[in-house]
Amino acid sequence: MSAPAIKVQNLDKSFEDVHAVDNISFEIQTGEIFSLLGPNGAGKTTSIGMISGLLTPDEGEASIIGYSVQSNPKKAKAELGVVPQEIALYEDISARANLNFWGKMYGLQGKERAQRVDDILTLIGLEDRDTGPVSKFSGGMKRRLNVGIALLHEPKVIIMDEPTVGIDPQSRRKILDSVKHLRDQGITILYTTHYMEEAQELSDRIAVMDHGKIIALGTHEELINIVGELDRITLAISGDTNKVSQIWHEIDGVKHITIEDNMFYLLVTDSNQILPDVFEAAASVDVRINSVDIQEPNLEAVFLHLTGRALRD
């Protein structure tokens, strides 16, 4: 049996007083899209830093296609392409010059490099904008080039660290489609995001991270099963939050309530059946409901169920 594309064993990392990553372990099989889902500060980027060889773990080990990142970094890194969260480009030179430089850094030579640069420019839709300085590009174009560099040397494993942060919906869609396209070519992808929809749409398996730990890991369906068939009702209210919280807890079918400012998140067995009772109870304590949102069971609900907090931007 071949080695897993990525193997993470007991990775642990602290920065002074902050325990950024707390003893995480997982394996990603070849051709799989694996998402690390969690809010900002959950430890996703630190985990990726250790897996890509940028950070040295305090404990534990990561390997890429069987090569240890810590003891055999050159071979491990040669199999890996990384799309960093921040756009990391030389903005005073052209897209082609950027690709040529990074191609050299990955050991591509001569004609092979020239061909790969042309291929990538076409793939990311910048073949007509290859000569001007990158500083003139839109945010979306820069993001695409940021992704393109990671694909240059045809890696077997790609790590994408929140590649869709801060871009327009059109560029976001292009990147999500390109991730699926890469998976179809047999490339393994480790994708981090705090957008539940992206993890849901792309992933074969998802690891939910919070405070440096993996608090749940499985397929989308497996994670949803953690919260069962519970619906989530989000309510914005004005009035006495304590009173209304107390009275809503007494309603039969309300399983869990989370309050953040004037927002209430209710996990309930059947939203259609319970909602009239929720309104009636609120009216009885003079609380006004300003908006209501009902959602089927999803990863947001899973996170809420596991942490008591909403998975938000």
Binding site: A78, P84, L89, Y90, D92, I93, M105, G107
Partner: protein, 431 residues
């Protein structure tokens, strides 16, 4: 080769930066050009710059002293230091530098006010007596200058003060002799005093070329003989250009090292670290770009100033080692400085204050030579790495090859120390 790719990328980016180009080439050349214009040497028909003549009028009121003997020199009586001063300034040595005339005080001041001359030197009646210790303890030697002609009169004033220092030295020698004799309860006869002053007076008549006043007076250059005997202006410009070249070489070295911090903040350094390229290769690539940039800068400035200003940089051997040592030291010092700071904001302070302070201290000899504070700045510049470079270059200028190589060796030693610390700190940071 990845190291070369990183270095070439950085060099290419530097040459795209107008700011970097201005600091590398523009400012050093401009500074030297300004000095060349101030000395009036740009734009003439001759390839060689020449300092314009300064018209000087001397009001010689010196009544001399019976103790000072008469020396026959070019059929003129020199029975006073005032007459000797006029005689020295009228020698052929200075014919291309100054026009010397004499007048009474009122006429002399009027000539300066009317800008007919640049400087009037008023020698008081007790000039000789004071110098030989039989007149007033102090006296005023007045330099009445045209304020619009700052440099010419300044040069002549420094020259005159050098000559007066030599007069004074002869008198101090005489006083010392008298003191020693008095301690031994001996006295000199009038004839013996006369004979001693005669010798000392001859001594002060020596050529100003041998002066130890700090001013290097160089005879007018013979046409076609520039290699052996550079003109006074090219000597001045050589000092200035050398100083500017050293000053800004350190800026370039530090600026090149700063690219590590810039790339760290832009995220491209982290991206480099996740390629299959080891950390030392990445750092070496960045160091190499700095070395190449400073070599290009120094060689370009030397060749440019040789062609445009006619600067003679001296013997090839000490110069070669100086350039190598300068390039190495400028870069390693930059790497060391940048390894001490956390980001480009702190680096800005290093550039603005630290590098300017060390740079000015290091090349301070260029501007303090021939001034009263020269001796204070003899060793002080060695507290800055730039000072070692300046000393090496000055030694090369004066054909003191051994001393130049010694200072270049010191620069290499400093390079090793700075590089060792800087590299260690950067490696630790990016571990």
């Amino acid at each position: 080769m990845k190291l070369i790719a990183i270095a070439l990328k950085d060099i290419g980016r530097s040459f795209r930066s107008l700011f970097a180009l201005v600091f590398m080439f523009g400012v050093p050349v401009l500074t030297t050009l300004i000095f060349a214009f101030l000395f009036g040497g740009v734009g003439g028909e001759s390839d060689e710059f020449e300092l314009p003549k300064t018209s000087v009028v001397i009001v010689n009121q010196d009544k001399g002293s019976n103790y000072l003997p008469v020396i026959e020199n070019q059929n003129r009586d020199l029975n006073s230091f005032g007459n000797m001063l006029v005689n020295i300034l009228q020698e052929d040595t200075f014919m291309n530098l100054i026009d010397v005339g004499t007048a009474d005080e009122e006429d002399a001041r009027e000539m300066v006010d009317a800008q007919e001359v640049g400087l009037a030197i008023i020698v008081p009646p007790e000039f000789t007596e004071t110098l030989i210790g039989v007149g007033p303890k102090t006296l005023d030697l007045i330099f009445y200058k045209d304020p619009e002609m700052a440099l010419g009169p300044q040069v002549v004033q420094a020259l005159v003060m050098g000559i007066v220092d030599r007069f004074s030295a002869s008198s101090i020698s005489m006083e010392t002799i008298n003191t020693v004799l008095a301690e031994e309860a001996l006295t000199l006869s009038d004839q013996e005093v006369y004979a001693l002053y005669s010798k000392l007076s001859e001594a002060v008549q020596i050529s100003p070329e041998e002066s130890e006043t700090g001013m290097t007076i160089i005879a007018p250059q013979e046409p076609g003989n520039s290699e052996e005997s550079p003109s006074m202006l090219s000597t001045i410009l050589r000092e200035i250009m050398g100083g500017m070249m050293i000053f800004y070489a350190f800026f370039t070295g530090t600026s090149a090292a700063q690219s590590i911090l810039i790339e760290q903040e832009q995220g491209t350094l982290a991206r480099l670290f996740i390629t299959p390229t080891n950390t030392q290769t990445i750092l070496n690539g960045k160091f190499t770009s700095g070395f190449i940039l400073v070599i290009v800068q120094v060689v370009t400035l030397m060749v440019f100033s040789r062609l445009v200003f006619g600067i003679n940089w001296g013997s090839i051997l000490p110069l070669f080692f100086f350039v190598i040592a300068l390039v190495a030291l400028a870069n390693s010092f930059g790497i060391f400085l940048m390894s001490l700071v956390r980001g480009t904001k702190q680096a800005g302070i290093v550039f603005g204050a630290g590098l300017t302070f060390f740079g000015m201290l290091g090349i301070s000899g260029v501007f303090t030579g021939g001034t009263p504070i020269e001796s204070a700045f003899k060793y002080l510049p060695l507290l800055a790495p730039q000072g070692w470079a300046m000393k090496s270059l000055e030694s090369a200028f004066s054909n003191n090859q051994g001393q130049s190589l010694l200072f270049s060796g010191g620069m290499i030693l400093l390079t090793a120390i700075f590089l060792l610390i800087g590299n260690k700190r950067f490696k630790k940071r990016f571990k």
